[in-house]
């Protein structure tokens, strides 16, 4: 027994892993040198200071730890870290000044063909691309702050760009002043949660060709065009907040060619268009809140079998805009703040069906400039006449059971 304890202690004192300290006055004064000395399982501890290094290649299973936020300055020369290893951790660094390029996606941290890695609590400033993760699996990216000074979309990069990966977790990051905050391209089985993406030039979050992913509890604010989810299947989006995406072609959420998605408990506030739906099929929208948007929902392409239940539509200029006379989408049991019907049997469900499409929204679709007439008496008149005898709006596009009171449901 004693022997075992002794061996255990021996192991903990003279363990197999070493710590290599890096600081300006240490024997090892650069990170590159520290990484070169390390073997699998070692810790490279970088003390605070400024390290002017770029293209730091890491191909070992090591723990790169920054103490008191050491600054790694790329001096606008290529990448800063290039990691190509399994089981590594990169933690606690401030990485800044990454080169811009039209042809190469220079990034502060580039991860290539890696598995089981963690990147946490780093601060990335003035970057071109922040994290560029390629062909990797089982990665966790958490607690990072990425920002840049993007002024022009063409000369700026994305915060977290994930390409051809699977099983990734992106949590609690803050992304601002980039082109796209988060970009998923050919990514599957991944989770995005509790991130904030704001003031980005293009999209807060951008999904392309990425199936079977889930994003929840994120906040997307003041982005150029909101969030875009395109050409993907089986995406679950819930408990996200999309707000203040204002502009002529701006929206909270753009859905393009999406199939079998679940969208529930999201909050859409003050966007020009809450959700722009284009070519989406078999989608469920439940318990979402649409508050003070220009258009809460705008259908722009062939959309089939979309179901809307228990959503709150409050004070939107248009609740719904529709582009065709055929309807295969179902609206039932939603709360519409401009519903003027009554509930004589007091079961909480309005006795008169609600028609969410106003005739004027067709006029605006055809001639956008007519929007200045929005609050005029004439427009109220044509909307009213259409409501009484529908001619232009699709016959079946009604909520047969509009709910009388706002749905109080935690979003």
């Amino acid at each position: 027994m004693r022997l075992i304890v002794f061996l255990f202690l021996l192991n903990s004192f003279f363990g197999f892993s070493n710590t290599i300290e890096v600081c300006s006055s240490c024997a090892v004064s650069t990170i590159t040198e520290g990484v070169a000395l390390a073997v699998d399982g070692d810790t490279v501890l970088v003390k605070s200071g400024i390290y002017k290094e770029h293209n730091i290649g890491v191909d070992k299973e090591i723990y790169l730890l920054g103490e008191d936020n050491p600054v790694v300055d790329g001096e606008y020369k290529g990448y800063v870290f290039i990691l190509n290893a399994n089981n590594f951790t990169l933690e606690g660094f401030t990485i800044q000044n990454v080169e811009q390029s039209y042809t190469k996606d220079y990034s502060a941290v580039r991860v290539l063909s890696s598995k089981y890695f963690t990147i946490k609590n780093n601060i990335l400033k003035n970057v071109f691309f922040g994290f560029m993760i390629e062909k990797s699996k089982f990665g966790l990216i958490t607690g990072n702050t990425v920002s840049s000074h993007a002024k022009e979309e063409a000369s700026s990069g994305n915060g977290i760009h994930i390409w051809h990966c699977s099983d990734m977790r992106i949590e609690k990051n803050h992304l601002s002043h980039l082109r796209d905050g988060l970009y998923f391209e050919f990514v599957s089985e991944s989770f995005i949660s509790n991130n904030t993406s704001e003031n980005n030039l293009r999209y807060g979050l951008h999904f392309m060709f990425s199936n079977n992913n889930e994003y929840h509890h994120n906040e997307f604010r003041d982005n150029g065009a909101g969030v875009a989810v395109m050409f993907s299947k089986f995406i679950i989006m819930h408990h996200n907040t999309f707000h203040f995406n204002w502009g002529t072609a701006s929206y909270g959420l753009l859905l393009k060619e999406i199939y079998d998605a679940e969208i529930h408990h999201n909050y859409f506030e003050q966007n020009t268009i809450g959700i722009n739906i284009d070519g989406c099929t078999r989608m469920n929208y439940q318990n979402n809140h649409f508050v003070r948007n220009g258009w809460a929902i705008k259908f722009t392409g062939g959309c089939y079998s979309n179901v809307f239940n228990y959503n709150n539509f409050m004070s939107n200029s248009f609740n719904l805009s529709y582009n065709s006379r055929i309807n295969d989408n179902k609206f039932e049991a939603n709360y519409w703040s401009d519903y003027t019907g009554y509930d004589l049997d007091r079961d909480g469900i309005g006795d008169v069906p609600y028609r969410p499409v106003k005739l004027f929204s067709y006029v605006v679709n055809q001639t956008p400039e007519t929007i200045i007439l929005l609050r005029s008496l004439f427009v109220d008149l044509i909307n009213f006449s259409e409501k009484v005898s529908p001619i232009f709006t699709p016959e079946g596009l009604v909520d047969e059971k509009p709910i009388m009171h706002e749905i109080h449901d935690k979003y």
């Binding site: 979309e153 063409a154 293009r202 150029g224 875009a228 753009l254 393009k256």
Partner: protein, 145 residues
């Protein structure tokens, strides 16, 4: 007489503005006519201009090719232009360009497709990045599959 003179002057002013010309792409403002994404990538953007003079921008060459294939509308176009990868922001005629599909050069819509004005420069990129060279007709054939 004076009236005739004035109307000739007026016509001279009016006529040149009827010429069909491509409208410069508003990077960061224009939306792709095919996929609705904001056009940002100066090295992969594309644009066609109809014979009537209306220009449509695309965020990627593959988007424009797909739109042309879907509408079968290539004959209606006065200009079909693609970004020159070697010279970002500069548009060249798609019908005479050389195209490179290479895994190492990502394009906005996932086809890894870029265009070059000069076949020699395209060859140079092919040697550096790998992949395969195509002509405009071949690209359309590849994308219409």
């Amino acid at each position: 007489m004076k009236n005739i003179f004035l109307s000739i002057v007026f016509l001279l002013i009016i006529l040149p503005s009827c010429k069909v010309e491509p409208t410069p792409i508003g990077y960061g403002q224009d939306h792709c006519h095919f996929c609705d994404m904001t056009v940002v990538d100066k090295s992969h953007a594309a644009q066609y201009t109809t014979k009537k003079g209306k220009s449509y921008s695309f965020d990627a060459i593959e988007c424009m090719a797909r739109q042309l294939i879907n509408d079968n509308s290539e004959e209606k176009m006065e200009f079909i232009q693609v970004a020159n990868f070697a010279e970002p922001g500069n548009l060249i005629d798609a019908r005479t360009a050389t195209f490179l599909v290479s895994d190492k050069i990502k394009s906005p819509m996932g086809e890894n497709l870029s265009a070059f004005n000069d076949a020699k420069i395209a060859q140079k990129h092919l040697e550096e990045f790998g992949g395969k060279l195509y002509t405009w007709a071949e690209i359309k054939a590849k994308l219409s599959k």
